[in-house]
């Protein structure tokens, strides 16, 4: 099988998975979902590490290090901020129950 066709297959199947997997999201979660997806593409950090680690040109090394910093900001910051958002969705449920009980 042609190598390019294998890549194309992976690409097309991923498109369908990507759409299918979020197709039932409620609008409440649009913002965290966008933010989480944003963090996932921060995995370009992996690419930046590989490219930077295999260069022997000083300018390329400098550019690569900049790419690593940027990608790490994207990836780490993205996941942390998404978690911060989602924390708020989870925390309040137990908080309300005792309050309701106390009223009655």
């Amino acid at each position: 099988m042609n190598d390019s066709v294998v890549w194309l297959t992976i690409f097309i199947l991923s498109v369908f998975v990507g759409i299918e997997v979020i197709s039932k999201v409620s609008s409440t979660l649009h913002t965290p979902l966008m933010s989480g997806a944003n963090a996932i593409h921060g995995v370009i950090l992996l690419g930046a590490i590989i490219v930077t680690g295999s260069t022997d040109n000083n300018l390329a090394l400098a550019v690569g290090l900049v790419a690593i910093v940027l990608a790490a900001v994207n990836m780490v910051g993205g996941f942390v901020v998404t978690d911060r958002m989602l924390q708020m969705f989870v925390r309040k449920k137990p908080a309300t129950k005792p309050a309701e009980g106390a009223d009655k």
Binding site: H30, A37, G64, G77, M88, T96
Partner: protein
């Protein structure tokens, strides 16, 4: 060549990312989904350190540390109201990183010479171009939302020529690059990408910026996917494609919720149908009242619906509002929050802001579920919102927001607007509802006036 164990771990990472997205789309599983994604991303980035011969390891680790500290600091300190621009910024730097990675890979290709697959060069050019578009576009969105620049559409004379010229130029150079790889071509493509990115976002009006963030997020995803092809890395390809596809779909969902098409959002301002209206305050007569009057209306109402908007969050009045609602419920009223899909600055943003103020999830009712209840509501309290209850979206075909689904606040018996001034909302158009006889306006800072209403209700 990547060793088999590493490839298998990449596959594992790809599956984790799919599960992460799946988790993120359900309220109960969202947090775990995000953690699964984070775990997979960290694992994936550790893999290259354990195979092959990675040079400059100390420098690389230092750079990762710098980025991590920066990212965590930004993510921890950002206020929830400023979330959208933070996401835009994270997205932008990701796009920038992808473009730089592709430039480095091009450098490698040029140095080594030899036989390179044409399609690899196509993907390289694509990554450089779209990565820079995403970077520059995101920076402009950030500037717009952070109000470092005007949030109104900016239209430069000769815009179509500049934009078209920049885009076509980049495509022509990409074709040249595929024929004869050269470093300068890559750099010029990147610069043109920056120009196109800036021009793409400038004419977009304030209210539509979040949709552009989502679109640029999808762009970055596709960039990462193309970068994965260039580097022959399946994980990058799958992760990037997942984000690209789901991001595009999410963009369409959001645009739908606002009743707008994506092309209209991007190019609407150029056709004259600006996404922002005049933005001027009107001097037509309105009925205004003091906090005590509003307290009486609320205190004796049986059914109250709260319509929260971005102004509420800006005034940091969520906690006071929640206290007021708790008090009304204790007095026997039925109170719910009506959440418009695009309340706040992004879809779902309002839920995050109210959740931060510990408002119970069950009181947040989505538009479709609550819209029929408005006609039975005694009082609708609109706090810092405007466009989402503007009947012009239903009645005035010439209005920029025409077609956007709105909350039926105008069907309620009484409407109370808490506003700072008569200035129009984010979309910059006048709201007819303000001039209705059943509408009462309470001017002032939301936190301040809500506090006064709260103490007046307590005194009833």
């Amino acid at each position: 060549m990547i060793p088999t164990w590493a490839q298998l771990l990449y596959l594992f990472g790809a599956v984790c990312f799919i599960l992460a997205l799946k988790g993120l789309s359900g309220p109960k599983t969202a947090r775990n989904g995000n953690l699964v994604g984070a775990f997979a991303a960290v694992l994936a980035c550790a893999i290259p350190f354990f195979y092959g011969d990675l040079d400059h390891v100390p420098l690389i680790v230092a750079a990762i540390a710098v980025g991590t500290v920066g990212g965590v600091y930004g993510a921890r300190t950002v206020q929830m109201t400023q979330m959208p621009q933070m996401v835009a910024l994270f997205n932008g730097v990701g796009g920038g990183a992808a473009a730089l990675v592709a430039l480095l890979e091009l450098h490698e290709i040029v140095e080594l010479g030899g036989d390179v697959q044409k399609f690899t060069l196509v993907a390289t050019a694509f990554t450089i171009l779209v990565g820079s578009v995403s970077f520059a576009g995101s920076i402009i969105t950030f500037a717009k939302l952070q109000e470092l620049m005007t949030s109104r559409p900016v239209i430069i004379p000769g815009f179509p020529i500049l934009f078209g010229g920049g885009f076509i130029g980049a495509v022509v150079l990409s074709v040249l690059l595929v024929h004869e790889p050269a470093m300068w071509l890559g750099i010029v493509i990147g610069l043109l990408g920056l120009l196109v990115g800036v021009l793409l976002v400038l004419p977009v009006g304030g209210a539509d910026v979040p949709i552009v963030i989502s679109l640029l997020n999808a762009f970055t995803g596709l960039t990462v996917a193309a970068g994965g092809y260039v580097l022959s890395n399946t994980l990058l390809l799958v992760a990037g494609t997942l984000v690209g596809a789901s991001g595009t779909f999410l963009t369409l969902l959001m645009a739908n919720a606002m009743g707008r098409s994506v092309s209209n959002i991007l190019f609407g301002a150029l056709k004259g149908g600006s996404t922002l209206g005049g933005g001027e305050a009107s001097d037509r007569p309105v009925k205004s009242a003091g906090p005590e009057d509003v307290a009486i209306m609320l205190g004796y109402a049986e059914r109250v619906i709260i319509v929260p908007g971005y102004g509420l969050a800006v005034a940091q009045a969520q906690h006071t509002l929640r206290e007021l609602v708790d008090l009304l419920i204790a007095r026997g009223a039925e109170v719910d929050y009506a959440i418009h899909p695009v309340a706040g600055r992004m879809p779902g943003h309002m839920n995050v802001l109210l959740a931060e103020a510990q408002v119970p999830y069950e009181q947040l009712i989505e538009m479709d579920e609550i819209n029929d209840d408005f006609k039975e509501a005694d009082v609708v309290l609109v706090v810092g919102a405007n466009d989402v209850v503007n009947p012009a979206a239903r009645n005035t075909p010439s209005a920029p927001i025409y077609g956007m689904p709105i909350l039926n606040a105008d069907q309620a018996k009484q409407v109370v607007f808490l506003k700072r001034s008569m200035r129009p909302g984010f979309a910059g158009i006048e709201n007819e509802l303000l001039f209705e006889p059943d509408t009462t306006l309470l001017f002032g800072d939301a936190k301040d006036t809500l506090g006064k209403v709260l103490s007046s209700v307590k005194a009833l």
